[in-house]
C-alpha cells in the first residue's frame, strides 16, 4: 500500500499481513460519516476489517477520485463499497463490475467537478495501474444531509451488504500476480 493520499484514506481496522507476493485484495469503503447514508461505505469497511484480517486489506476513503488512483494501484481485486442514489428504495443493494470502458455520468474532458469514480478507473486503466478486477458494492441511500444520521432502511441493510462483500472475498478467483 502506498502512503499516498493518507489524508483521505485511513485503515479501517486490522489489515492483512501480506507475504512476499500474495494476491492483493483491497476493500475500500467510501463516503462521509457526516452526510447520513453517504457514510454507509465507511461503516461497512469498519465492520469488515476484523473479519477480513489476514485475507484482505480494508481501507476507508473520502472518495476523491484522483487520489483513489494512488490508493488502489496494483490490487489484484478491488472491492469498492459506496452509497448510491438511483431512485430505488433505500437499503437496496447493487453490485457491478466496471471495466475499462464503463459508462460514466462524468465527462472525460470535463470540469474537475465532473471527474467521478468511473472516470478515475478509466484513467487508471490508461495508465496501466488499474486493479486486475474491480467490483462495486453499493447501497441505496436516501438521507444525505449535513450531520444527518443513517436512515433505518440503510442500517437494516448494512449486515447484508457486509455479508455480500465477505462472500465476494471468499470466492474471489484471485491468483497470485505472475512475474
Amino acid at each position: 500500500m502506498t502512503s499516498r493520499s493518507r489524508g483521505a484514506c485511513e485503515e479501517a481496522g486490522t489489515t492483512s499481513e501480506r507475504g512476499a507476493s500474495p494476491p492483493r485484495v483491497l476493500v475500500v469503503g467510501l463516503g462521509n460519516d457526516d452526510r447520513g447514508d453517504d457514510g454507509a461505505g465507511l461503516e461497512a469497511a469498519r465492520r469488515l476489517a476484523p473479519a477480513l484480517a489476514g485475507r484482505a486489506e480494508v481501507r476507508a476513503h473520502a472518495g476523491e477520485p484522483v487520489d483513489l488512483i494512488g490508493v488502489w494501484g496494483e490490487a489484484d481485486l478491488l472491492i469498492l463499497i459506496d452509497a448510491a442514489r438511483t431512485g430505488r428504495a433505500a437499503g437496496t443493494l447493487h453490485r457491478f463490475e466496471p471495466g475499462p470502458d464503463a459508462p460514466s455520468g462524468g465527462r472525460l474532458g470535463a470540469s474537475s467537478h465532473a471527474f467521478d469514480l468511473l472516470v478515475a478507473l478509466r484513467l487508471s486503466h490508461a495508465l496501466g495501474t488499474a486493479p486486475r478486477r474491480t467490483v462495486v458494492h453499493a447501497i441505496e441511500g436516501e438521507r444525505f444531509g449535513f450531520g444527518a444520521s443513517r436512515c433505518g432502511a440503510v442500517e437494516r441493510a448494512l449486515p447484508q451488504l457486509v455479508e455480500r462483500v465477505l462472500d465476494e472475498v471468499r470466492r474471489a478467483p484471485v491468483e497470485p500476480a505472475s512475474g
Partner: protein, 431 residues
C-alpha cells in the same frame, strides 16, 4: 451586412467548477466577450455575519476543495491583524509548508491533467495517458506528495483541520516533518522534469499588457504573506486594499469584477508572481525557468503552464528548506481576547492573491466581512485575452477558434467555485 459568427460552449472543460463563455463577432470585430459565471452565489460573506472570530478558517476553507489553505491563511492573517496577534516563527513555517503542499497539488493537477492536453491535442488527460502515461503518472505522483504534505501538517488533504486563529492546533515534531524529505526530494526532481517537458510545447502568440499584481517579500518568494506590489508601482499593506481596489457587479457573472485604481483589468497569479518576485526565486527554480526558455517575465498567457511548473519547483524546494530549518513553536497557538476591530489579510492562492477583511464586534462576533478570490479579479483579463486572441484569429474555423478560446481560459486555471461567483462557451458571429 457584415458576416456574423456564433461559437458556443455550454460547459467549459478542464477547469475547476462550472461556467460558460460567449463571444459575439460581427464582421472582423469582436463585439462582446463574456465569461459567464453562473454557479449560484454562495453567500459565505453573508452567513459569516454573527459567527465567532474563531470560525472563518474552517468555514471559508469550504469555499474550495483545491485551495482551502489559501482561505484558511488569508482569514487567519486578517483576524490576527484585527486582534494584534503575532504568531511564532515556527507557526509561520508550518503555515508556509502547508501552503507549499497546496501549491504542489494544485499546480500538478492543472499542469498535467487539465492544461497539458491542450498543447498536445488531446481531449482529456485520459486520452493523453494512452500515449504519455509516464508524464500523467508523474503528475499524479506530484499531486500525491502535495496531498501528503497537507495531511501531515494540516490533518487532512482536503479542508485541513489544523489551522486556527493564533497558530495551529498541533505542531508536528521535526521528526514528523522529516518523514516527508525523501518524497519531496523525488518531487523536486519530478517538478524540474515537468518544467523541461512543458517548455517544449508550441505556444500560440499572444502578448498581454495587463498590470501585474502580487504579494512581495524581500527575503523569499511570497506565498503566505507579504506586501502587495504591482507593475504600476503600488506597494501596499493589507489595510490599504480598499483604497485601491473596488468590486463591481456585471450582468453576465455571479462573480464580482474588480477594478484597481481605475484600471479595468489586472493580472494575478503565477505570471504576476514570477515577474514581480523573480529575484526571490530559488536558484533551482530560476535555472529551470531559463532552461525552459523563460526570461525575467512572461507575458504570453499560453506560457503560464511553464510558470506554473516553475512554481511547483519553487514549492518543492521551499518545503525542503523548511524541513531544514523548522523548529517547533513553544506554543502551537496564542489566544487573544476579542475586541472591536477591523482586520485585513491576504495570501497567494495558487491562482493569485486572495484578500479577506473582517469587522469584529467587541465580543468577537463578525459584523461584516469581504472575501475577494483571485479568479473573480482575473475575469476582466481573461475576457481581454479572449477578445484580442479572437480578433487576431478570425480566419480560423469555428471549432479550432473555440478550442483556442477554451485554452485561453484554462491559461488562468480558473477556480469557478471560488469565484462563484463561474463556465459554458458561446461564440456568436453576426452580420
Amino acid at each position: 451586412m457584415a458576416e456574423s459568427r456564433t461559437l458556443r460552449v455550454d460547459a467549459l472543460a478542464r477547469v475547476e467548477g462550472e461556467g460558460a463563455m460567449t463571444v459575439r463577432v460581427v464582421g472582423d470585430r469582436v463585439e462582446t466577450v463574456h465569461l459567464d459565471i453562473f454557479e449560484p452565489p454562495r453567500f459565505f460573506e453573508g452567513f459569516l455575519r454573527g459567527r465567532s472570530f474563531l470560525e472563518p478558517p474552517d468555514i471559508t476553507a469550504r469555499i474550495c476543495g483545491i485551495c482551502p489553505v489559501a482561505y484558511q491563511t488569508s482569514s487567519c492573517n486578517a483576524i490576527e491583524d484585527a486582534l494584534g496577534l503575532e504568531v511564532e516563527e515556527g507557526v509561520r513555517d508550518l503555515r508556509r509548508l502547508l501552503y507549499c503542499g497546496e501549491w504542489i497539488q494544485s499546480h500538478a493537477l492543472h499542469v498535467h491533467l487539465l492544461h497539458a492536453p491542450d498543447f498536445l491535442g488531446y481531449e482529456s488527460a485520459i486520452h493523453m495517458a494512452a500515449d504519455h502515461a509516464d508524464v500523467v503518472q508523474r503528475g499524479l505522483n506530484l499531486k500525491a506528495v502535495g496531498n501528503d504534505l497537507m495531511e501531515g501538517v494540516g490533518g487532512r488533504a482536503v479542508h485541513p483541520v489544523n489551522v486556527r486563529v493564533g497558530g495551529v492546533y498541533r505542531a508536528p515534531s521535526r521528526a514528523d516533518l522529516e518523514a516527508f524529505r525523501d518524497a519531496l526530494e523525488r518531487a523536486l526532481e519530478d517538478a524540474i522534469a515537468t518544467v523541461a517537458w512543458v517548455g517544449t510545447f508550441d505556444f500560440p502568440e499572444l502578448h498581454q499588457e495587463h498590470p501585474f499584481v502580487a504579494l512581495h517579500r524581500p527575503d523569499r518568494y511570497a506565498i503566505e504573506d507579504g506586501r502587495l506590489i504591482s507593475s504600476t508601482g503600488l506597494d501596499l499593506a493589507p489595510h490599504e486594499w480598499p483604497e485601491h481596489f473596488e468590486e463591481r457587479q456585471v450582468e453576465h457573472s455571479t462573480a464580482l469584477h474588480a477594478v484597481m485604481d481605475g484600471e479595468h483589468r489586472y493580472l494575478l497569479g503565477p505570471q504576476a508572481r514570477y515577474a514581480l518576485n523573480h529575484d526571490q526565486l530559488s536558484d533551482v527554480a530560476r535555472e529551470a525557468a531559463y532552461a525552459a526558455g523563460l526570461g525575467r517575465e512572461c507575458r504570453n498567457p499560453y506560457q503560464s503552464i511553464v510558470v506554473r511548473a516553475v512554481e511547483t519547483v519553487e514549492a518543492c524546494h521551499e518545503a525542503l528548506a523548511i524541513l531544514d530549518r523548522y523548529e517547533p513553536p513553544e506554543r502551537p497557538y496564542r489566544e487573544a481576547e476579542p475586541r472591536e476591530a477591523t482586520g485585513h489579510g491576504w495570501s497567494e492562492a495558487p491562482r493569485g492573491l486572495l484578500y479577506h477583511r473582517y469587522d469584529l464586534e467587541a465580543d468577537g462576533s463578525i459584523r461584516s466581512c469581504t472575501i475577494v478570490p483571485p479568479t473573480s479579479q482575473n475575469q476582466a483579463s481573461v475576457e481581454d485575452d479572449l477578445r484580442r486572441f479572437t480578433e487576431a484569429h478570425l480566419h480560423l474555423p469555428d471549432d479550432e477558434l473555440q478550442w483556442r478560446c477554451e485554452q485561453a481560459i484554462r491559461n488562468y486555471d480558473p477556480c469557478i467555485s471560488c469565484a462563484t461567483h463561474f463556465l459554458n462557451l458561446t461564440i456568436e458571429r453576426h452580420g
